[in-house]
């Protein structure tokens, strides 16, 4: 782990100053444990208690193909062009919509 961290942080843990600095950093982080979190659900976002707005099922957007296609580097007949996607073996010559989800 230490070697991994060294590579990532570009910090050399060889010298005593580096180790000391690391120890101080860990001590600061340790202060988190002073907070009693028994029975408290972890928070994911500070907006958790906000109300989730429900939109009515009406069509209000879309029909802007021209605008959107302007963003694309390459376009073929109103389709965005992307580099070849991953296709399954053996090569299928049909236009099968592929979704790996």
């Amino acid at each position: 782990v230490v070697e991994h961290l060294e590579r990532l942080a570009l910090v050399d843990f060889g010298g005593p100053e580096a180790v000391a600095r690391l120890e101080r950093a860990v001590a600061v982080a340790d202060r988190l444990r002073a907070v009693d979190t028994d029975g408290v659900q972890p928070l994911e976002s500070v907006l958790e208690d906000r109300c989730l707005y429900l939109r009515s099922d009406n069509v209000v957007e879309g029909n802007c193909a021209e605008e959107l296609l302007r963003n694309s580097h390459r376009v073929v007949e109103e389709y965005f062009v992307a580099p070849p996607g991953n296709i399954s073996l053996p090569k299928l010559d049909e236009q099968e919509p592929f979704s790996p989800s």
Binding site: L52, L54, N58, N63, Y79, A82, L89, K91, F98, S99
Partner: protein, 557 residues
């Protein structure tokens, strides 16, 4: 115990190594794959119920197959799950795409109320527990048809969990034995659909259409309680009927509104579950069972020959009729799930917990939705059995065939004939003709009114059973004429004149004294000969039973 036998074998069928006729054989798998049971993020391996360990008889290979399904159903709504662009099947490319769908910076998801209602209704119909609090997450992977680089889904806490789907399969030589089965539902979650990619191999590029990107999907995860292709296909069909009855999805596989992925593994009864493969791209009702059965056989063959099953993802090639590995699915995908930071938890209420003075547009009441649930297919079938006294397997066929139930009900409205007669005519004669010419109910040349009229004639005893069949054939062929017209044209009416019939009987007996003597001597077949002679004399316009009665009366007098 009979139950375990049925549990792991398709009704009375044991999986035995079979020689299947298929295309190019795949190379015997080099044993490089891991033998782990491959737990994926979302679905986990279900508990295998205790199966009594049966020693395989010498020389016979017994295998049990385990099939789980992940079904994606497009929600039937006007607009998409998180944006206000339209949901529509065929439209000019990229015309139904909003800025959010194209994942332009600065756009945010806004949840569609209708999609939430659809999810809750589906959960209720499938006996699920509805989570009053559910959460949205991001599932990251790179693909050109996923512009944001992640899909918003519900991985940690989906909207509905732990339900069940009941379905029935018909077994036996005549397929008239109905076995009821259940498959557990692990969860139902809301998620986004991706766009469509068209592969242009010639120019080495992919064309992307984002019309479908962001459309709401219901992912229904079925536990691996099924054991063969037929069970899986039947369960999917039942789910389709339920979704269509609820109106939450049109579930049309041809239009891509219902997509199925299968998780398949095999093992010897009594031993732990085998390595599972995932078969994707099962988008046709016709090939669903075939693909699953093929994969089961492939795995059995592989193991029988000493190979190993790789925990991989495969695709079904319709042309070759076999499953093939998907190149890019080698190795585990790390989806880097994180909570969707732009959406707070989804809270649902019931009548008890509904906050006072809340804006009705902003809250969803589970109890209210439960009350508004339409009639489910199983209830419709039960009603048919109760109301018309038909057999369960008949009600299954009536609902399974698109448009058949409506046809049947329209005939019933206009005819005085007995329900059993109508059922028999619709399911045997009518359906038989349809199947023979591969037609859908909507393409039938015979209308419900025409059949109703025909059955009325039969009921009034204006024509005989045999004549009715002839009229039906003619109705099918000509289409324009009414049954009454055909009957008079072909002179198929039954003789109504009793006296004339009596005279004919007398005359026939006088002309054939030998036969009469035979009869008096006690030859049982003589009466049939007489009946035949009289029938010929009437040009087949008399009912044999009536003739028999008349002859017997005259003979005894």
């Amino acid at each position: 115990m009979a139950a375990p036998v049925l549990r792991w074998c398709c009704p009375a069928r044991r999986w035995i190594l079979a020689n299947i006729d298929r295309g190019p054989r795949h190379g015997r798998g080099a044993p490089t794959g891991s033998r782990s049971s491959g737990k994926r993020g979302q679905s986990s391996v279900a508990q295998q119920p205790l199966v009594t360990a049966q020693k395989p008889r010498k020389g016979e290979h017994q295998w049990a197959a385990v099939v789980g399904l992940e079904i994606h159903a497009q929600i039937s709504s006007n607009s998409k799950l998180f944006s206000g662009s339209q949901v529509h099947f065929a439209a000019p490319p990229n015309s139904l795409v909003s800025f959010f769908d194209a994942s332009l910076p600065g756009t945010l998801p806004v949840l569609n109320r209708r999609c939430v209602e659809a999810a809750v209704m589906t959960g209720l119909a499938l006996n699920c527990h509805i989570n009053k609090k559910s959460l949205f997450d991001r599932k990251h992977y790179f693909y050109a048809d996923l512009p944001a680089g992640y899909q918003i889904t519900q991985q940690r806490l989906p909207i509905a969990v732990k339900g069940s789907l009941a379905y029935s399969i018909c077994v036996g030589k005549k397929r008239n034995q109905v076995i009821n089965k259940t498959v557990r539902i692990k969860q139902i979650q809301l998620e986004q659909d991706s766009g469509k990619s068209l592969h242009d191999d010639l120019r080495s590029q992919t064309l992307i259409d984002l019309n479908r990107a962001g459309v709401g999907l219901l992912e229904v995860v079925l536990e691996p309680d099924m054991s063969c292709g037929e069970e899986a296909a039947t369960a999917v069909r039942e789910l389709q009927l339920i979704l269509q009855a609820l109106g939450t999805s049109q579930a049309n596989m041809a239009e891509g509104q219902l997509r199925v992925d299968a998780n398949i593994s095999v093992h010897r009864p009594g031993e732990p579950l085998g390595v599972r493969t995932e078969v994707k791209n099962l988008n046709s009702a016709r090939f669903l069972a075939k693909a699953i059965d093929y994969e089961i056989q492939r795995q059995i063959e592989e193991l029988e020959n000493g190979g190993e099953i790789l925990n991989e993802t495969r695709s079904f090639d319709y042309k070759l009729g076999c499953t093939v590995p998907m190149r890019d699915k080698e190795g585990k995908q790390d989806y880097r799930f994180i909570p969707e930071p732009n959406l707070p938890p989804l809270l649902l209420y019931d009548s008890a917990s509904l906050p006072a003075g809340a804006d009705p547009q902003q809250v969803i009441n589970i109890d209210q939705l439960r009350e508004q649930l339409p009639e489910l297919p199983s209830v419709t079938r039960e009603k048919l059995v109760q109301q018309y006294g038909m057999l369960p397997e008949h009600s299954l066929t009536l609902l399974n065939e698109v448009g058949l139930l409506e046809f049947f009900q329209n005939v019933m409205k206009e005819t005085r004939a007995e329900p059993k007669k109508v059922t028999s005519w619709v399911l045997n004669t009518f359906l038989g003709f349809l199947k023979q010419q591969n037609l859908a109910v909507s393409e039938s040349p015979v209308t419900p009114s025409a059949l109703a009229e025909l059955l009325n004639l039969l009921d009034q005893k204006a024509i005989s059973s045999a004549a009715a069949k002839k009229v039906f054939e003619e109705l099918w062929r000509s289409g324009g004429k009414t049954p009454a017209q055909i009957v008079s044209e072909k002179r198929l009416e039954l003789m109504q004149d009793q006296e004339a019939l009596e005279q004919l009987c007398q005359a026939t007996m006088e002309e054939h004294p030998q036969v009469v003597m035979d009869l008096k001597k006690g030859n049982p077949r003589a009466i049939n000969k007489l009946i035949g002679l009289v029938r010929k004399a009437t040009l087949n316009r008399a009912d044999p039973t009536v003739i028999k009665e008349m002859l017997e009366k005259q003979l005894s007098s």
